[in-house]
């Protein structure tokens, strides 16, 4: 029992050493870089102008508008019973979807990297399909598939499994949308994993399961967690696919972005803004967590 954790710790240190060795010359090069290239003023000027016009000014507009609200007013608008139900549903269904992706995505990444089977390259390319497919189309086809007359729904609905117009439908759509994240974060880590380590464990008498649990899994964990967080963050803001599949029933199948749109349709700008700020703050907190996680999992990549 005692030698395996030590083994993996030593591998960690080995990876770190390699990381540092490759980083140092790169830093030196960057410092030495001498510059006579033209166009810095022009490109930087345009970059800042365009960034301000498209991103920063709209952003500032929202912030200033929010600051115009008094705190009690903001709190009242952001925490209505309907809003709380929407946050809860958004977070719960995003968590379940991200968990499903962590589990099946990790399995898919493993299978794609480790095994040869017919159609492997096609499946590998198809993993990015949810990135490329417009979310509206994803929502439309999933709602149809799981609806009472759909290819799957016609068998599932009689069994009481409602994959459309239900919280389960939301989870299905969010799983689809977040599918590439875990697979794509895990794949490079798996490819770079050294087989010698597993061989060493096998030589030392560990069975395959034991090798996996105490040697392979610990080095995959940070990447799976990063992929999980990315899928979760993507799911929190998702709107397009949910519109089609959720049924949009207040307190039951209404997610936070849908409630923002409802408020806007009622011309209740302040109500929409309060909800949007809550969603934004949550996304930024997640972004911070993801950055930390990425740094952590990059230690296993070199």
């Amino acid at each position: 029992m005692s030698h395996t954790p030590l083994l993996s710790r030593r591998i960690c240190r080995f990876h770190l050493a390699i990381g540092a060795a490759t980083l140092r010359p790169r830093l030196r090069m960057a410092k030495k870089r001498f510059n006579a290239l033209p166009g810095f003023g022009l490109t930087m000027g345009f970059t800042l102008f365009y960034l301000s016009a498209v991103v920063l000014i709209p952003f500032a507009g929202l912030v200033v508008r929010t600051l115009g609200l008094s705190w009690p007013e903001f709190w009242r608008l952001a925490t209505t019973a309907r809003a709380l139900a929407a946050y809860r549903l958004t977070i719960d269904s995003s968590l379940v979807a991200a968990l499903a992706n962590a589990l099946f995505g990790a399995l898919l990444a493993w299978v794609l990297v480790r095994y040869e089977f017919p159609g492997r390259r096609i499946i590998d390319a198809m993993v990015d399909f949810p990135f490329a497919l417009p979310t509206a189309v994803a929502g439309l086809t999933l709602a149809n598939l799981f609806g009472p007359n759909g290819w799957l729904g016609r068998y599932l609905v009689p069994l009481g499994i409602h994959g459309a117009f239900s919280p389960l439908g939301i989870v299905l759509a969010l799983t689809f949308v977040g599918l590439p994240f875990v697979v794509r974060t895990l794949q490079p880590v798996l490819q770079n994993l050294e087989r010698e380590v597993e061989e060493a464990a096998a030589t030392l008498g560990a069975g395959r399961l034991r090798t996996f649990v105490s040697v392979v899994a610990p080095s995959l964990f940070p990447a799976v967690l990063t992929g999980f967080a990315l899928a979760f963050a993507r799911a929190i803001g998702e709107y397009g696919s949910i519109v089609f599949i959720s049924g949009n029933i207040p307190f039951k199948t209404e997610i936070a972005p849908q409630l923002i749109v409802m408020r806007l349709e009622e011309y209740d700008y302040t109500g929409a803004i309060a909800l949007a700020v809550v969603l934004l703050v949550f996304s930024f907190l997640l972004l911070g967590v993801i950055n930390v996680l990425e740094q952590w999992s990059n230690r296993f990549l070199h």
Partner: protein
């Protein structure tokens, strides 16, 4: 000759992996579960789009696409992409030149800012423009007085699209430009080329594939964006409905076959995007393989 060497190498690798492989039963169980998941979430939704689109036959499919409101949605989507993608390409080139070729303070902050739109929910992105230009927005009254329409019109749709697709080209280009360094450009300048010539003949060819990659991703998202555009469009049939919005409208009007017909075009766009992307990646992998062989 090189073929036999490759095969022998593969055999060696295989032999060394014998102690570290799962039993065939475990292996094929894992493959089956993973493929089942991929089939359920990747293949089935895709097949369903085309099956439902053609459920009422070819002639219905054709007429659903050329029906005036759908046809105008297709044209609007192409127009919006034709405006917003080039804007983001120019920005991506400028930003990656400044970031990759020069050192300055606050560079990490600038990169974070460029990535910002990725972490904003599309609905919130749309809301930002409504807050600026909407009826109760900052410039709403002024715009109304001067009869300029931004929200519920083409400019608003373009702005929302530009916002959500903002980072795509820059993000692809920055690492590629950083990797190529500045030596080639310095050489060109020393040989008497001016800045534009250097950029056009030296920099652009070296980042060509990254640029194409960024453009197709940016375009796919621009044509497929729903949330942000939905908030600013106003959903005026025949005027401010893009293809994804048209899909939504047809669906809520209980016209599923027509909704799927329009959706099938977007699905084809997604497949085309994936195909180009995959070809580019395979090219890259092959080039690296060849480079590796030359090295060894």
């Amino acid at each position: 000759m090189s073929q036999t060497v490759l095969i022998r190498k593969r055999d060696l690798v295989r032999q060394s992996q014998r102690g570290t492989e799962e039993s065939p039963v475990v292996k094929w169980t894992l493959i089956t579960i993973a493929l089942g998941f991929a089939f359920l979430f990747l293949l089935l939704p895709l097949l369903n789009v085309f099956a439902q689109a053609l459920a009422k036959g070819w002639s219905y499919y054709r007429s659903a696409l050329v029906e005036p409101d759908s046809w105008s949605a297709i044209r609007l989507t192409l127009l919006v992409a034709a405006i917003s993608v080039p804007l983001n390409v120019v920005f991506g080139l400028a930003a990656s030149w400044a970031i990759a070729k020069f050192e300055f303070r606050g560079k990490p902050l600038l990169i974070t800012m460029i990535d910002l739109p990725f972490s904003v929910s599309p609905v919130v992105a749309g809301l930002m423009f409504v807050v600026l230009f909407g009826l109760q927005g900052y410039f709403g009254q002024w715009l109304g007085a001067h009869d300029i329409k931004i929200i519920f019109a083409l400019p608003g749709i373009v702005l929302a699209t530009v916002f959500v697709t903002f980072p795509f080209v820059a993000r692809e280009l920055i690492p590629v430009m950083q990797a190529t360094g500045t030596e080639q450009e310095q050489a060109a300048l020393t040989l008497g080329a001016n800045g534009w010539q250097t950029f056009w003949h030296v920099t652009l060819p070296s980042v060509k594939w990254g640029l194409i990659y960024g453009v197709i991703l940016c375009n796919a998202r621009a044509m497929g964006e729903f949330g942000a555009v939905s908030v600013v469009s106003g959903h005026i049939a025949g005027k401010t409905d893009t293809m994804p919005l048209r899909v939504d409208k047809l669906y809520t009007e209980y016209n599923a076959p027509a909704a799927f017909a329009v959706a099938s075009l977007l699905a084809m766009l997604a497949l085309l995007t994936l195909a180009i992307r995959t070809i580019l990646e395979w090219r890259q992998a092959r080039r690296e393989l060849i480079a590796g062989r030359v090295d060894s």
